[in-house]
């Protein structure tokens, strides 16, 4: 704690409380996404295990193959979402640290955190680009 003795220790309490609430929301969101991802993956495993024995006609087989391929791409949402949440949690940690270190209620706004590269730029679950060096 680097606050000067003259600063009201409770000056930033509401902001710190908001940070803690956001962190808790992110943790819950992460748990929900992980649970949904695990359940979807279990369903995917069941379907993929049954695929070799599927004896429908060729149009049905193509339809099923395409659906499974689309599921493979879509099921990657858990990984992307988890990384975005980790990134947001880190930024929140930085913000909380700044709040704790502020010497006095800021008249000119909060300090800006050092920029960090955004690990996920994707906004949809369509497949990403490929580049061979």
């Amino acid at each position: 704690m680097t606050c000067s003795p003259s600063v009201d220790p409770g000056a930033y309490a509401p902001a710190a409380h908001e940070c803690a609430e956001i962190a808790a929301d992110l943790a819950r969101l992460n748990a929900l996404i992980a649970d949904a991802g695990d359940r979807l993956l279990a369903s995917f495993n069941t379907v993929s295990a049954a695929l070799p024995g599927f004896d429908g006609g060729e149009p049905q087989q193509i339809q099923l193959r395409d659906a499974v391929a689309a599921a493979v791409t879509s099921l990657q949402f858990q990984d992307l979402a988890a990384q975005l949440i980790r990134h947001a949690q880190h930024r929140l940690d930085v913000l909380s640290a700044h709040l704790r270190a502020l010497p006095a209620p800021a008249a000119d706004g909060l300090p800006v955190a050092a920029p960090r590269p955004q690990p996920v730029a994707q906004g949809a679950m369509c497949s990403g680009p490929i580049e061979l060096f």
């Binding site: 991802g37 695990d38 993956l41 995917f44 495993n45 993929s48 391929a69 493979v72 791409t73 879509s74 099921l75 990657q76 949402f77 858990q78 990984d79 992307l80 988890a82 990384q83 590269p117 690990p119 996920v120 730029a121 994707q122 679950m125 369509c126 497949s127 990403g128 680009p129 490929i130 580049e131 061979l132 060096f133």
Partner: protein, 120 residues
Amino acid sequence: MPSILAVDDSASMRRMVSFVLTGAGFRVLEAADGQEAFEMARTQHVDLVLTDHNMPRMDGITLVKNLRALPAYADTPILLLTTESSDAMKAKGRAAGATGWMVKPFDPGKLVDVVRRVIG
């Protein structure tokens, strides 16, 4: 049967990669981070490494650098499969010796095409 080492700290990503590449006729080994992958690769040679970048213990670009330092992996194709899409990160991957860069999420057909292309 060509062997591929799939490296990702996400179990669901490893499952998706393994499902697709096994179905395409490859033997797939899995590792949960760069450190585990490096130890596996040293004990059994694989024909291609497909790795995530953001992982605990050892990230993907460090794994590429460490593998390239091994004579057995001087020419082995190593692909990054990651959410990272910035030119700066791609340049780091290229400088480390990566063969190519794929941005998540991957399309199964495109993944198989690229793997076949670089494995030769």
